[in-house]
């Protein structure tokens, strides 16, 4: 509920800024806000390589092995981006602020037999700042067609660890804190935008999980997240430019604009 409230406030803020932007004339052609809303798709299944971390099953502790190098984990992002296009109409910069929910999931099986399996999910809530370079062969504004390349920095607000085992119906969840997480994580971004559809690939160089985290327990040093590295995320978003382009291409948007400016829709 708390997160939902945050999201709603974020959206309202974006809409307000975007609405103001729509008043701008030719200036809005080069500088304009956009609303980003979409899903991200995680494909990595980072493996905990610590051999001493075993599956704690009902019949004892068993060695694990990863079942498959890929696993699909959906997430979402919502936010606002500010576009600053250059006068040549072929390149520009895009930055902004997003609220991102993303994660990764790995399935483990018992190594020496086929008795049990367990899915482990890590999910982060983050505030992200993209910094992208836009460029295209033609007018990037006319069709909103351009390629994006850059980085996306995440400030991870909270990270949750969840486990679901085949030998027990109860799920396990824990909030990771302190040294267990990396407060900041960075992705390299490469993608494209066509119209209001934005697709980009984000490769996370540093995961939100701190794989170097060490815990001292009963005189022994443990590394619970050893080997859990970053992965690949595909962002598919609606990139709604809050500028004249939208009202030109969308009658509903034009009607909203006219109403806001006290004009008739006819």
């Amino acid at each position: 509920m708390k997160h939902l409230t945050l999201i709603l406030l974020f959206c309202l803020g974006c809409v307000a800024a975007a609405s103001a932007q729509m008043e701008e004339g030719s200036k809005g052609e080069y500088r304009y806000w956009g609303i980003i809303i979409g899903l991200n798709h995680g494909f990595s299944a980072p493996e905990n390589t610590n051999e001493n971390v075993m599956l704690h099953t009902a019949k004892g502790d068993m060695y694990k092995k990863r079942a498959g190098a890929f696993n699909y984990t959906p997430g979402y992002q919502i936010g606002a981006v500010y576009n600053l296009d250059f006068k040549n109409n072929k390149s520009g910069i895009q930055t902004g602020l997003e609220f991102t929910n993303y994660g990764c999931r790995t399935k483990y099986e018992t190594r020496d037999n086929n008795l049990y399996d367990m899915k482990e999910t890590f999910r982060a809530m983050a505030v992200s700042v993209p910094l992208l370079l836009k460029f295209g062969p033609n007018d990037i504004y006319r069709n909103m067609s351009y390629i994006t390349v850059g980085v996306r920095a995440h400030y991870n607000i909270s990270v949750m660890q969840g486990q679901k085992a085949s030998w027990n119906t109860q799920k396990y969840g824990k909030k990771l804190t302190g040294d267990e997480i990396n407060q900041f994580s960075v992705c390299g971004v490469l993608g494209f935008n066509v119209g209001m559809l934005s697709i980009n690939a984000n490769y996370m160089f540093m995961n939100f999980i701190n794989d170097e985290c060490q815990i001292v327990e009963n005189g022994m040093t443990k590394k619970p997240f050893e080997g859990i590295k970053g992965g690949l995320y595909i962002y598919t978003s609606l990139n709604i430019p809050m500028c004249r382009w939208l009202t030109v291409h969308n009658w509903q948007a034009e009607k909203i604009r006219r109403k806001l400016h006290g004009g008739s829709t006819f």
Binding site: D61, M62, G103, L115, G162, N168, Q170, Y172, P224
Partner: protein
């Protein structure tokens, strides 16, 4: 998009992506697996409990009766505090592979130890599982992954999750077991080697008696043969004939009646009473000497002035190439009393100068006698005013015709020595110390050790080395470490431990293997060391890893050292 559609859309996304609530207990656990204790597997998975890691007890090879070589591994496993009761285990064993680091019973390129080679140990009603196994027919210098497994009555196969990885032996700096000596196990046998390389051993002590038989080891065909048994009848003045802890040398007569005589000197009986009487064995005539006091009785050997045991005997040449047959040191008992002391004196058997022996009613005749050769001293060369040193149960090894090495043993102050003396005769025929060989601190002072000398070529380099090891330390612990002194580099080095038993009182000697498997296949040296028999113990969990002399028993195993 209408604003009214936004909220449900966002909520749908939230549901799809899933929420994780803090709840429950984790399904992973980090267990620290150290070298000693692991989690044992059960029911196709894992038991709760702890286990000692599978231990490789032996990684060796042996020579079979048909002279084939057999490389083998022997393991021992011990599990305790397991939840599954022992009687739920119906089979246990070991599985191995040369390629699979986690071998399983039906795994690819995996094999199990033969069932007949698995031994259960311990009480089956307890929650402890203790077993051992060995596998033969392996290859030299090969990597093996091996681990234990258990099959429960549920027909589930469980594995020790920690796999042992080991490489089987390579034939270099290694001891390997030869065919067992076909003689009764015994310690402190009396041994001497002929110039032709045949080693004879006489007597020795088992757990119940002393022996009076004579055996010979022939390295050419790796056989032990009983040559003779000394009969008591004619040996009235040479008793006890059943004896041990004495010494012997081979005396070669180059007279018309050429013969080699084995002089059997001193020693003690089974009760530990030293003797001063000596006798001989004629190799040519295959008979023990009678000691009747008869003129010119060639079989007569003058007794010592006092009973002696734990002595050494050796042959050494003077600078003018005259052979000297020496015996001495050891424990001397004052006859008729229980008092004894370690005597530093070394005597020689004067075969050149006789003494006149007069017996009433009989013709005077000459006999050889023992004369003082000298003593070693702490300060180097012999001198009357310097402190003489003597040892009980020290070792003596021939370096060459003119030098021997004498060392270790129990000293007169009760301390055990670890120093070795390279000894020769000076221009006047007196003993002199050429060099002291002082081992490093890690070398434990000992008595009743085994030693030999090898001079060999390996991989193009020549080696001139004195080897010493096994024995008993001052606390009564038996040892199995072996050390080598390299004369070329003047350095000590610890080599492979001897065999699978800690022992003392073994016989040790050098042999020559002319064309055995290692010479032919690996170009290994022909000179080898042999350590055989003795009193030993193999430490294991069943004897609480004891290496105490008191727990040991006589052995008849034979170990060969391949440098």
């Amino acid at each position: 998009m209408k604003t009214s559609h936004l909220i449900p859309y966002l909520m749908t996304i939230a549901v799809i992506t899933g929420c994780i609530k803090e709840d429950g207990e984790p399904y992973t656990i980090e267990r620290q697996i150290d070298k000693e204790r692991t989690i044992v597997s059960s029911l196709s998975g894992y038991m709760y409990g702890t286990a000692q890691k599978d231990t490789i007890v032996e990684n060796a090879f042996q020579v079979l009766d048909n002279n084939d070589l057999d490389v083998y591994l022997s393991l021992e496993s011990y599990f305790d505090t397991i939840e599954v009761q022992l009687n739920a285990v119906k089979e246990c064993g070991y599985v191995y592979s040369t390629t699979n680091p986690n071998p399983t019973v039906k795994g690819l390129e995996c094999h199990t130890f033969k069932k007949e080679n698995i031994s259960w140990k311990g009480d089956t009603s307890s929650t402890s599982l203790h077993f051992s196994g060995e596998e033969h027919g392996l290859q030299f210098n090969h990597n093996y992954y091996v681990r234990s497994y258990v099959v429960t009555t549920h027909n589930d196969t469980c594995y020790n999750p920690v796999t042992c990885q080991t490489k089987t032996v390579i034939p270099s700096n290694v001891w390997f077991r030869r065919k067992e000596a076909k003689i009764d196990a015994r310690a402190e046998a009396i041994a001497a080697t002929t110039d032709g390389g045949l080693t004879y051993i006489y007597g020795g002590r088992s757990n119940t008696k002393c022996y009076s038989d004579l055996w010979v080891y022939n390295s050419a065909d790796d056989t032990w043969s009983q040559v003779a048994t000394c009969e008591d009848g004619s040996m009235t003045n040479s008793r006890p004939i059943e004896r041990c802890n004495g010494a012997a040398f081979m005396y070669t007569k180059n007279e018309m009646d050429a013969d080699t005589l084995m002089y059997i000197l001193g020693g003690e009986d089974f009760g530990g009473t030293p003797t001063k009487y000596n006798f001989i064995y004629s190799l040519k005539h295959n008979q023990f000497g009678s000691t009747a006091h008869h003129p010119n009785n060639r079989a007569y050997v003058e007794p010592f002035d006092q009973p002696r045991t734990g002595i050494i005997a050796f042959k050494i040449e003077t600078p003018w190439n005259e052979a000297v047959y020496a015996v001495g040191m050891g424990l001397t008992q004052i006859e008729g009393t229980s008092s004894s002391a370690i005597n530093p004196q070394i005597y020689y058997y004067d075969v050149n100068n006789d003494k006149l022996f007069t017996e009433e009613g009989k013709e005077d005749y000459h006999v050889h006698t023992w004369r003082a050769l000298g003593m070693l001293s702490t300060d180097g060369n012999l001198a009357i005013d310097q402190t003489a040193i003597g040892f009980y149960q020290s070792v003596v090894v021939k370096l060459n015709e003119k030098q021997v090495i004498i060392g270790s043993g129990e000293g007169s102050d009760g301390n055990y020595s670890k120093i070795f003396y390279q000894v020769a005769l000076d221009d006047e025929g007196n003993l002199k110390i050429v060099k002291r060989l002082i081992p490093p601190d890690e070398f434990i002072p000992r008595k009743n050790a085994a030693a030999f000398y090898l001079n060999y070529t390996k991989e193009g380099s020549e080696y001139d080395r004195f080897f010493v090891g096994t024995g008993c330390d001052k606390d009564g612990n038996l040892l199995n470490d072996f050390w080598a002194y390299d004369f070329g580099k003047a350095t000590w080095e610890r080599i492979a431990d001897c065999g699978n038993a800690y022992r003392e009182g073994a016989v040790s000697f050098k042999i020559l293997r002319v064309d055995d498997y290692f010479v032919k296949e690996f170009a290994e040296p022909q000179e080898r060391g042999i350590v055989a028999l003795g009193r030993g113990i193999t430490p294991s969990i069943t004897n609480n890893y004891s290496t105490k002399e008191i727990d040991a028993s006589a052995r008849n195993d034979v170990w060969e050292y391949l440098p």
